[in-house]
Symmetry: D2
Subunit: 446 residues, 4 copies
């Protein structure tokens, strides 16, 4: 017997990290079959990554069977866990998500603003289809999604899918926990952080070192330009120290998009002009990675992968799978249905919150009311996520326009419509719900 | 016996409209004594306006005694209603509120963004002091405030004053009701609108003509550039029609600051460059008005006052006073404690909502949940109002910085601090709570 | 054209009061056609009442056409208002509702406890069917229900019917308002009461005389045995004065079932033994009334009807119809969807609350949080109402048992099952949903 | 250094179990000083128990110093944990709490109804005083209370004490977990139960065996009279199986007081007549226990203690202390501030809910909405607890009368006042707040 795991988007450049994660945890998470799935257009990458995965497993000496296939249903059948890590439209679509808004003077980013919405519009229909297949082929299995924008995607899955065993994972809270521990010079297990908010909009409400709350001390350190926390995917612009202090809770790196919009925009405009937006850089990195992966002598995750960004994403996924399997009841920060864990957010909505992870899935910890100073922004992004998810499912031009106009990064209804039209045109191929009455076969890409 | 009303800021250029309102309603609202109060620096204007008021009353033949005084306590003693319409720092302060943000490329406006916060910082301490005096000198009296920013001011009064009989009034909902009726070509009493939101952030949730809901029809008309609703204080930029339709509820004119930020900013920058910001225009208009008021032959409200903007402000105040006095139980849109009338807004917060007005004050109608597409922005402005009110009361630099940074019109923490410092410097004289440990005698101006 | 009103249960002994109400209001509510509807088994009564109605109308000289029919669909077609006042199983069913529980030492009453549940189980399916017919035949019409138990019935209609224009009316709040005004010796319009709660579980939260709150004074008066408020349908047992004072809000007469359970039970046991339960008395009164109604010389509502109880029920119905028709925006206490008007009660549930009545129906006033001392009992009855409504719709033995066991008037799960079985047996004919897979033709009786 | 623990009510017959618990956990919870505290009237028992404790510790070979003292402040000074297990008025008071209500035909029990209220009225002022002393002498220490009624007591401490590090513990959830596991024939760690409610009013919302929900299967088993769960302190009356099934969640043994009131009352009346109420039995058992404790050869907890009832109470206390000390993050069911963990209960109220226990105290798990069928009763008891706590603090006759009348076990306002007067008279000595303006020195007894 043994565990069966299916990884949709198996040809992703991240997959070796996931394989490494499973190998490291084999003693507690004995996966017997790992199925890497991709679509026809991704066959070559899937084969490269699949072969590397086999070499890695062999080198590690663990009896995990690696399958790779274009037949998703075969992979899903009787799986215990399904991970999803896809990129509909490949990195070329991401380049458009970034460059088209920037052309109009708008933030261009893959999880926020106009770019974030369009990634969601392309992704949500595919994930809903996978969820429905799971309900048929492996109804007891957990869907562990780490496709971005994970907040809007989880919102859509929780609201519109009949398969309810869905968890969104993100590496941001783990990275914050790790960075703060490093900054303090202590082991992570001595630091406890209450996390609450939305994906890429999560706050550390309280930070404890052992049994002392040290939130203010952490904010002071983070305000010190010398030691500001940084993340690869976000321009490491320094926070205003007085603002951090008055905020009273620890923002995540992505909060810069909202509290430092103009500074971020300046940076992005520079990158735009020089053809070095994040997507363009990543595309080059990926090409290099796949060259490495082809090397028949490579049988471990190559260190170059770490520059790719997204470190610990796979760890986050492996951890939640292992904690469910082993009923670990440890604390992880996950995207789940709120149910009152954050008082001011609607009961049925997706939130990113500290949970304990049991055999029966995650249970959110009660985080109470959000401090008033952050409540407004969180609610605003939740409004955006809900309308965006609706637009994705309905293929509604008007809802998409609404989502864009209420987004705080888009400063006008007219600009919203302009960027909407450009992006719709650019991504037409991957947005059948906006153009067809019949849904096309999904153009899933990783 | 008879009613006694005290009007703080009696030397305001608006006062003739208020006088006219009281004269028109004398048959149902027999005010015996009207006390116009101002501070020493406003003595001249108070005397001009007070004399005009006497001529108006005499002309109308109503037995209303007009008193004017610099002794506020004497005016408050045993009053039944107190209206407040002041401008701490005069129009010169408003000019700074508008021009200093614009210098930095930020929206400069007297009720939104940085300018709105600073008007509140100057005003709130004065109003709290008046409320405390009322608690001592006329505890049964209602405080009817129409000093802007009415949302943040009402929030502060409800939270921090021991005098709880407080109502904020604004002419925006009345104007919306009137404009929509005119647009439809029907009498106002055939149109019913459910209003809910915050001051200058209020929405018409449902519009009815007789017993039919016509919200979508109204939105379509408002999206037609030919007939877009306009207001003197707001640049009449046309709404994007598809956005209006998708919004599904009727925005107020001030929503342009949030849904058309960049367009508004462009307009304001033009005005800034040509020295014709709204404050500068108003200042000229006011000088002209006072010249008119001095004319001993003038014994009615001069028609030029209508260009001043703020039409119906006084009507709104007169109406609420008369409805309380006469237990009219009619519907008016007022700023009051929420208590659940709008489901998603905190119970204790100030909201602007349709109320019935009884002898015992306003009771908000139950408006239910805000549509998700507007909930986020409303919550964000509520966060701003609450932190801003706290900053005003505490004289806290950090809270003021926080309020500015979380405001959606200020795109960066660094810019927030920059504009904060400039405005603090510019308004130092009127912000004793930020500079002194002892509160100075308030430099109230009208 | 003119208004068309349909009255389901037209053969009720109450109908002459309703006719009188419509006649009195003809100047403002010009009903052209009034359709009295009943079922075959009620044909004789319908004809007696219908003839009386025609004589009354003729005497009054108003041009209202009185139709009577057994064809409900014909009556509903294009109606503007539909009133429902039925008694499925006639008074004999009520006698069982009262006597069977009393046999086991349980409160026997038609709107509370086991009897109340069974009246609902018989009534709800019939009303849901009427509501569905309305959705087809007169979708714009308001359903004004005054069939008891109005709380559970309104809950069921709001949750399970596709026709949403539903209002439940009850005379209790009006009677409380009237009694208190009489007790104070003042006109009703000088007394304002904020009502909130559930049907037959409504409290006066605040009582005002003119602009002064006098709740405590009223409670003191009500605690005085000399002047305790009474109602015909409720044993006028005196309240404990200290309890009333500590309660802090004005209970309704039916609260005696919960705060004086043992005293009420003693009274009822006496009546049970002597064959004089309320149902038995009413049955005799009704027989007498119909004898009177037959008198061809009778052309007004006979004074004897007032002893029947339920005074002002018809007034309550006429008032709400007239206020909708005339857009009166006056305050009435109605059973409507909560939507946050009472903070602690679920958003979608039916509540009995002060509303203003507009052309577009009632809008509840915001009553805020219930005082903690009454919140528990109200919630408990709401639990009972929701489970009871579910039982009625599903025909579920288990849900009915659950509803009875959680009811505070039934002190044991075993007794609950015993009384359930006896009542099911006794009412089998009128509970097809519990006995058949197919729904029988409704045994509606009035 | 090492840990210092203070146990108020150290002379309790339960103390040997606590000592045993600390000895068993010494390897993970190295208590260096354990201070047993009692009042002068309890000196003899304290010495008996203290000597036994020393023999137990010596026998076990752990270096834990046992101190005993009448000087509470000395014991509290710099403690890390304080446990409270007191009985103000000794068992004689409990006998009155049980027998006086029974005299009037009312349930007589120490945590529910009139008896429960009076135990709270005697206990709460003493515990508040202890909490205030802790705030002064050991502000970082956790107060672990297992004095009943733990729900009302925790409510009072959370609302009225300035010391906020308070946890209420109870053995009921642990016993339910244990009983259900035994009934299923599996290890406890394979069974997970989501607990939510109030103290002695807690429900198992969902029961899982490994990764399968088995709630319905458990309810079926519990409905089987052969295997009904029993507890020493509650008459093991069988549940109605159909009711259990329809309830859909697992009740606790004390729910019999509410769902089987009449059956329980019958049992209690028998005990009352034969002089064998629970208090009378326990008093005899205690006398026997203290005889055993005096035996100088006894150096372990005697097995007879288990008949005393309250098994696992001390385990519950030891577990929470150890989990805080060791940051175990395990799940325990504790009485803590709600903060939204149970959606329908007020944010600030005490609830009994599954928590994880961290170095910084317990964090409740998010349990979401209560099923509607149980919400009502839970709310009603919460109303009782809040008003009861208020009565205890204020010494208010009216609030005490209110608490009794709204309690579902007391069927009339008049009976409520009668039992109130009798109990006030009987406990006068221990209720200084009701009789004196000055608070007497506390008559604390254990």
């Amino acid at each position: 017997m043994g565990l069966k795991v299916a990884t949709i988007g198996g040809g992703s450049s991240y997959t070796p990290e996931l394989i490494e994660g499973f190998i490291k945890r084999y003693h507690e998470l004995p996966i017997r079959e790992l199925w890497l799935v991709d679509i026809e257009a991704g066959r070559e990458k899937l084969e490269i990554v699949g072969d590397l995965a086999r070499r890695m497993v062999e080198k590690a000496g663990v009896p995990m069977e690696i399958h790779f296939t274009m037949d998703r249903r075969k992979a899903l059948k009787d799986a215990s866990f399904v991970t999803t890590q896809m990129r509909v439209g490949l990195l070329d679509a991401r380049i458009k998500d970034e460059r088209i808004p920037l052309q109009m003077g708008l933030i261009g980013q893959e999880t926020n603003g106009a770019g974030g919405l369009f990634k969601a519009l392309r992704t949500i229909p595919v994930l809903l289809e996978i969820a429905e297949e799971m309900q048929e082929l492996c109804p007891e299995a957990w869907l562990i999604n780490f496709t971005n924008p994970a907040g809007m995607v989880t919102e859509a899955l929780l609201r519109y899918s009949s398969h309810k065993k869905v968890i969104g994972v993100c590496n941001v809270p783990f990275n914050m926990h790790l960075s703060i521990s490093k900054m303090l010079g202590v082991e992570m297990n001595r630091v406890h952080i209450d996390f609450a908010g939305l994906n890429h909009m999560v706050f550390g409400l309280h930070v404890y070192l052992d049994d002392q709350e040290i939130t203010n001390r952490v904010l002071e350190m983070l305000g010190d330009p010398e030691i500001q926390m940084t993340m690869k995917n976000v321009a490491p612009l320094p926070w205003n120290p007085r603002f951090l202090k008055s905020l009273g809770v620890v923002p995540c790196p992505y909060h810069r998009y909202y509290y430092k919009t103009s500074n971020i925009l300046n940076e992005e405009m520079e990158a735009f002009k020089s053809g070095k937006t994040r997507a363009e850089i990543v595309k080059k990195l990926e090409e290099g990675l796949f060259e490495l992966y082809k090397d028949k002598d490579l049988d471990v995750k190559p260190p170059q992968l770490e520059q790719r960004g997204g470190a610990y994403y796979s760890d986050a996924a492996c951890n939640v799978i292992s904690s469910i399997y082993n009923d670990k009841k440890d604390i992880q920060v996950l995207n789940v249905q709120n149910k009152g864990s954050i008082s001011d957010i609607e009961y049925d909505s997706a939130v990113e919150v500290s949970c304990i992870v049991t055999k029966n899935g995650p249970i959110p910890l009660t985080m109470g009311r959000l401090p008033i100073q952050i409540n407004g922004l969180v609610q605003q992004i939740k409004s955006f996520e809900r309308i965006g998810a609706e637009a994705a499912v309905a293929g509604s031009y008007d809802k998409a326009l609404l989502a864009l106009t209420i987004n705080p990064l888009i400063p006008s209804d007219d600009l919203a419509e302009k960027v909407l039209q450009e992006l719709l045109k650019a991504h037409k191929e991957y947005l059948p719900q906006f153009f067809n009455s019949e849904r096309l076969q999904e153009p899933v890409e990783i």
